[in-house]
């Protein structure tokens, strides 16, 4: 994406379609979960689509991202195949991680998506390491790491910030401040001014943006990523957003004030982006077509996933490690078709 194309409606329309893809994926994933088709639980990215989309729009295939437990949006934005992702959720052959990981362990190394993560903050320390590998190899690539607001209270967050600055690594930290950490209001357990002030204490340049405004995120991400690419060292992007859905698929949001969710839903990023596009002269039909294309692609992904076979139980023994057998069940304990 060349610089002059930025903020061009055609580009934003494309990114709008990516956001729709994420939205559709999350909606269909929830339906699949409710229908009992998902083996584990899921963390939805609904309402935060602009952050992952705007950031990844400024990354190249050769750049890396590291994600967290809420990784569907990051994965799609970085170019992972939603069909393979849906298969992963449903535990089918063809899943991104061979159906070994599920929602929290989606990864697609072919597009530089180095993995979602079930343990908070570990993506940060791994991210600085990936950036160090880039530096050691002299590659022309950068790393972006996504971290939730609640996770900025874990120690490894600070270690990673310090580390990135000490070694002047090519890394962008993206703090997605969606207001909540699980059922806890993050500000109720967070001292001081928050993530931006904390990053600044390490001398790191920071950016603050309305994370529900795709155009704004895209522009700020371009600037921050440009700085990283330009050798200016680590940058910190704080995106203010809101998690409109429950923390996990089972969450009934009992901890929220009445009307809070609805109030925030009014700010969700897709509608705002569609309105911006319309204002910029994109035809309503084209906007609708982008949305429809996204939903159609995800619907097809769901069908393909449902039709895909379950992996054979014996695949469980693959990819543990090269050395040392996984000590599989002896003959008399092996059960055709798995457990009793």
């Amino acid at each position: 994406m060349s610089e002059q194309n930025r903020n061009e409606p055609a580009r934003i329309l494309q990114l709008y379609e990516t956001m729709c893809l994420i939205r559709a994926f999350e909606e269909r994933a929830e339906e699949a979960f409710d229908a009992g088709l998902v083996n584990g639980s899921i963390h939805q990215y609904i309402g935060q689509e602009a952050v992952g989309t705007g950031v990844c729009a400024n990354l190249r295939d050769t750049d890396y991202i590291l994600s967290n437990h809420r990784g569907h949006g990051h994965s799609i934005a970085k170019g992972a195949d939603p069909e393979a992702m849906m298969k992963e959720l449903m535990g089918r052959v063809g899943g991104t991680s061979g159906a070994k990981g599920g929602s929290m362990h989606i990864a697609d190394f072919s597009v530089g998506m180095l993995g979602a993560n079930g343990v908070l903050a570990d993506g940060l320390t791994m991210g600085v390491g990936a950036a160090q590998a880039i530096a050691l190899k002299g590659e022309d690539a950068i790393v972006a790491v996504f971290v939730g607001d609640g996770t900025t209270n874990r120690g490894p967050f600070y270690e990673a910030l310090n580390w990135a600055m000490v070694y002047e690594l090519p890394i962008l930290f993206v703090c997605e401040n969606n207001t909540y950490a699980s059922s806890t209001l993050t500000r109720s357990v967070t001292a001081g001014e928050g993530p931006v002030a904390r990053a600044q204490a390490f001398g790191m340049p920071t950016f603050d943006v309305d994370g529900n405004d795709l155009v704004a995120v895209d522009a700020v991400a371009a600037e921050a990523i440009g700085a990283v690419r330009g050798g200016k060292g680590p940058q910190f992007l704080h995106a203010r957003t809101y998690r409109v859905k429950g923390h996990i698929s089972r969450d009934k949001l009992l901890y929220r004030a009445e009307g809070e969710t609805e109030e925030n839903w009014k700010r969700e990023p897709l509608g705002a982006c569609a309105a911006w596009l319309a204002e910029e002269g994109i035809a309503e039909d084209d906007i609708a077509a982008a949305r429809d294309a996204a939903y159609a692609r995800i619907d097809a992904a769901v069908e393909a996933a449902k039709a895909a076979p379950f992996p054979d139980a014996s695949l469980a023994y693959q990819d543990v490690q090269d050395l040392g057998p996984p000590e599989i069940w002896p003959e008399n304990l092996r059960m055709p078709g798995g457990a009793s």
Partner: protein, 327 residues
């Protein structure tokens, strides 16, 4: 007796201890809020009765949840630190093993560390590699710690009470898949002593020793074997350190045959310890060598067929039991 869900029984136990002793308090992520999901309801409503100084909703700071619990314990209170899962417990192994377990000893007995750390173990459907681990063997191997792994609502409640009253640091490992399980819970105080096994089924041909949710599967296996005329004694250890050697030795003295069943990865698991111990201690009583069953040495996979391949099931216990019986 009242029929209760495991998580409700344990919550009751905590509430009763908190009423009994104002120095008991709990800390952890999301303790004071209600999800509506299953797993976060272990503290539901306690904030209303005990307030935010005793039901402490913490930042996501595992090192400090554990470290603060240690500091608060040596300073004279009785914290219950909740790390949610043994997998996240790995973020605070240092504070548990280097501090909680050693303080009394390395300070020459000047201090006690009366804390309970809750960290749930076990495979829960589709939870995959980072939310399914059973790490009880690590803590059995750690001097200074008591390790508890209850398998019924009554034991969960009764052992939590003992754990809270204990002056030793106790690692309290619930099974995530038991949280929603139901069972009879006594209407009285129902304290269950630490270190005492529960003989959940008497038998004369074979002893199966197990703990946590696996003890329930061992009961299922025993039931199946009973259909074939085999009389199995099932021992639910409940406490893994110190484990009830007397009960196990006595049972082995009766049956002459022992199978240890665990959910954790077999290699290096706690079953090996029981085997090693009983092999030496009961050499003359054993009619055949001790056997064990545990999971393959692999991370827990996600998709159902593979997840099932990981699991120790009643059918597999039965098959292994037959091997013991036929040898």
């Amino acid at each position: 007796m009242t029929e209760m869900m495991f998580q409700d029984a344990v919550r009751e136990g905590l509430a009763e201890e908190m009423r009994r002793d104002p120095l008991v308090w709990a800390l952890g992520e999301d303790l004071s809020t209600a999800h509506g999901g299953t797993s976060a309801n272990q503290y539901l409503g306690l904030i209303d009765e005990f307030g935010p100084k005793r039901i402490v909703n913490t930042p996501i700071s595992e090192n400090t949840i554990m470290g603060a619990a240690v500091g608060a314990a040596v300073a004279g209170t009785r914290p219950v630190a909740d790390l949610r899962m043994a997998d996240f417990g790995m973020c605070a192994v240092d504070e548990l093993v280097n501090q909680a377990a050693k303080i009394r000893y390395m300070f020459g007995g000047q201090a006690r560390v009366p804390l309970v750390v809750r960290q749930a173990i076990g495979v829960r459907k589709g939870a995959a590699a980072q939310h399914s681990q059973s790490t009880e063997a690590w803590y059995v191997h750690t001097p200074g710690l008591v390790v508890v792994a209850p398998g019924t609502p009554a034991d969960g409640r009764g052992l939590l009470k003992s754990a809270i009253r204990s002056d030793d640091p106790v690692v309290f490992m619930e099974h995530k898949d038991l949280w929603g399980a139901t069972g009879e819970v006594p209407d009285d105080e129902g304290v269950v002593p630490l270190g005492k096994a529960s003989i959940v089924r008497e038998g004369s041909d074979l002893t199966i020793v197990s703990w946590s949710r696996m003890a329930r599967l061992a009961e299922e296996a025993a039931e199946a074997l009973a259909g074939d005329g085999v009389s199995v004694e099932v021992i639910d250890l409940r406490t893994l350190w110190p484990w009830d050697k007397a009960a196990v030795y006595a049972s082995v003295g009766k049956t002459g045959r022992l199978l240890v069943a665990q959910e954790a990865v077999q290699v290096g698991g706690f079953a090996a310890e029981i085997m090693a111990d009983v092999t030496e201690a009961c050499a003359s009583a054993l009619e055949t060598h001790v056997r064990r069953i545990g999971a393959p040495r692999m991370p827990v996979p996600y998709a159902e067929p593979m997840e099932n391949e990981y699991r120790v099931t009643p059918a597999r216990i039965v098959a292994k039991a037959r091997e013991v019986l036929e040898s």
